[in-house]
């Protein structure tokens, strides 16, 4: 198969991370590139080989962020780019507001208070926190281990609720507001697998004649065999 079986029903965790990496995040550049860029682009186009800045273009962004950087002036870039710059010591990542001890404490409170709903954590909270703990731990003001503990608490609190919610599986629909992508993705095979089968059972119990087997049964075109009522032919022992 052109797509391996384990990718046919769901995303891998790496793919979820990939999606999250496309989201914007704020950084403080540690270098200034903006003026250089302006001189070259405002002057009549220079075609000297040394001037490579005009040649740098990206295909998923309208601007080339690397030419827009001013040291310590915050700007927004895709997470993957922020991580690459960070790795090169060219920026600090501005940790999002929600990822502080104070704010997480409020989320924990909410999750504890309401047993039947999820707090509105960002849809990428699990992935983003994990990435930043790993790659930008020196950009946090709060102690990372305390943050990590709270993320773990949130994770467990929500898992308990998810488990409870799963007893409401049915053949119609579910509403799962504020569930993050990681949580959705890990639950997907179970929820989809079970609900599909519940649907099949329910559907089979309905009397939609057009889908009854045997209705389009015509083993031999030139014989027109009559069909009898199913119910009449059943014998209950």
């Amino acid at each position: 198969m052109a797509l391996p079986a384990h990718l046919q029903e769901t995303f891998s965790s790496e793919e979820v991370r990939f999606l999250v990496e496309n989201e914007p995040i704020k950084i403080f550049p540690r270098i200034t590139t903006k003026t250089m860029a302006r001189t070259t682009s405002n002057n009549t186009k220079s075609h000297t080989n040394n001037d490579s800045s005009t040649r740098h273009t990206l295909i998923t962004m309208n601007k080339f962020p690397l030419n827009e950087m001013i040291a310590m002036k915050s700007m927004e870039v895709s997470l993957w780019l922020a991580l690459l710059l960070k790795q090169q010591n060219k920026c600090n990542i501005i940790i999002p507001e929600w990822l502080t001890v104070n704010s997480l404490d409020r989320y924990v409170k909410y999750e504890t208070k309401y047993s039947d709903r999820f707090s509105s954590l960002p849809w990428n909270w699990l992935v983003l926190s994990k990435i930043l703990f790993e790659k930008a731990y020196d950009d946090f003001n709060d102690p990372v281990n305390e943050l990590r503990q709270r993320i773990q608490d949130l994770r467990e609190l929500r898992q308990v609720k998810v488990l409870k919610g799963l007893s409401y599986l049915n053949e119609s629909h579910l509403q799962l507001d504020n569930l993050s992508l990681t949580e959705i993705n890990e639950l997907r095979p179970f929820i989809v697998g079970t609900m599909n089968k519940l649907r099949e059972v329910h559907s089979a119990s309905l009397d939609h004649t057009e889908t009854n087997e045997g209705e389009n049964l015509n083993i031999d075109e030139d014989a027109s065999f009559g069909s009898a009522n199913y119910d009449g032919s059943r014998m209950v022992t």
Partner: protein
Amino acid sequence: MYGDLANKLVIEAKRTQQLNGKPNKATKLPMYNDEIVRNIITEVNQLKQNAEFLKENEVMSQSENKVVKCQYFVNSLCLERNKRCLLAYQRLRCDALDSMIWENNGMDSSNQDSNDLSHEEQEYLREYADLITDLKVGALSDIDISGSLTPPSDVFIDVRVLKDAGEIQTEYGVFNLIKDSQFFVRQSDVERLIQQGYLQKI
């Protein structure tokens, strides 16, 4: 009973499916069961003769209509069933052959013992490999469609040189790998050197 052999074949297919069900494991096929397939085809021919016999009879004896009809039905259903089992078996194996081609980056040399494949399957494998090769050079040539399905992460990495390795040439110029120096390089350029113990990922 008619259809029993076909069942055996499908149970075998089920086993193959289970063997290949685990992620990140190379697809493999057991020996093509030529014997059962041929025996089912023999059974099919038997059923076909029965059908012809019944058809002649139907015309001749109107009085035994329902008997002939019942016999005819049973016969047709057995034929149909055998066909379905044969096709399901072959289709499962073809899907597995497809997987092998993709896993091996479009080549038909895999760890599959080609003696375990029927002649038709060997031919199919070659033809599918050719098809993928053609696909790679067309409009999608820049994409490398048989490449990795794991998202790129850490395209570039920091490495430390563990033992002198001389100069290497990359797209980014020449790197002189002297012990204890550090470089920022494209991971794919140095994969081999890491494996061989010259470099260490930091």
